[in-house]
Amino acid sequence: MRQQDLENRLKQQRSTIEVNPAFYESVMQQIRIAAKQAAVRSWRWEDWIGIRPAVQTALWAAAGMAGLIRLVWMIHTILFQGVCYSC
C-alpha cells in the first residue's frame, strides 16, 4: 500500500471521529459563564439606570459647569468682599 493511500485512510478516519456528546454542552456552559463575567466587568451604573450617552454627557457637563461657577463665585467673594461664605 502506498504512503498516499495510507494518508488518505488516516484522513478518512479523522472525518468520522466521534466527539464526546457532552462536549458541546460543556463548551456552551463555559461560554455562558464567560459572557456573564464579561458583562459584570463592563457594568456601569449609567447603563443600569438607562441614561442615554448624550444625556450622560449633558449631565456631567452641567455638574462640571455648576462646580466651576461655584468656585469662581467663592474666589470672587474672598477677593472683593473679604468674606468666605463657605467657612
Binding site: M1, R2, Q3, Q4, L6, E7, R9, L10, K11, Q13, R14, S15, T16, I17, V19, N20, F23, Y24, S26, V27, M28, Q30, I31, R32, A34, A35, A38
Partner: protein, 179 residues
Amino acid sequence: MDEGQIIKSVLQDDIESFGLLVKRYQRPVVAMVRDMTGDVHLAEDVAQDVFLTAFQKLHTYDPSRSRFCTWLFTIARNKSVNAIKHRRLRRIRPIRQGQQNMNPADQTETEELTQRLEAAIEALPIRLKTVFILAVFYELPYDEIARIERIRVGTVKSRVSRARKKLAASINGYPGDDE
C-alpha cells in the same frame, strides 16, 4: 444561516448562536488537536479552550483577512503547541477503523501500516507535524497554512515535502512517494 450572520449575532450578544459554530467545527477542531497533541483526553480539554478563546476574541476576527475556519485553526494550533510545551501529554491512542471490503490478512497489514504511519506522524518535529496535518488531513490551502504558521507559502510546501520524506523513511516496509 451563514457564518458571517452567526458571528454578527454573537457579537450582538446572542450567545446561543455561538453554539452553531461549535456544532459545525467541534469535530475538525477536536481531531486536529488530537493529531497535534497525540492525546485523546487532553484533546477535548484543549478544544474547549479553543472555542472559549474564539468566543472571547471574536470581536478581533476580521473576515477580510481570513476564513473563520483558518482563524479557528490558528487558535487550535497555538493552544496545541502550548499544551505540548507544558508536557501534559499522555499516550497516543490511534483512531482505528476496519475496512469491510478487505480480507483479514490485508486488513491486518493495513492496520499495522496505518498505526506505524500514525506513530511516525506523532514523532515528527512540531513544525513539520502542524503543516503536514493541516495540509493532508484537513486539506487547507497552502496560503491559509502559511497564514496560520506565519511562514511563506514556499516554506509550507517544503515542510510538507520534508514531512512526507521523513514519514516514508521512518516506516520500514513501504516506499515513500517520489514527490
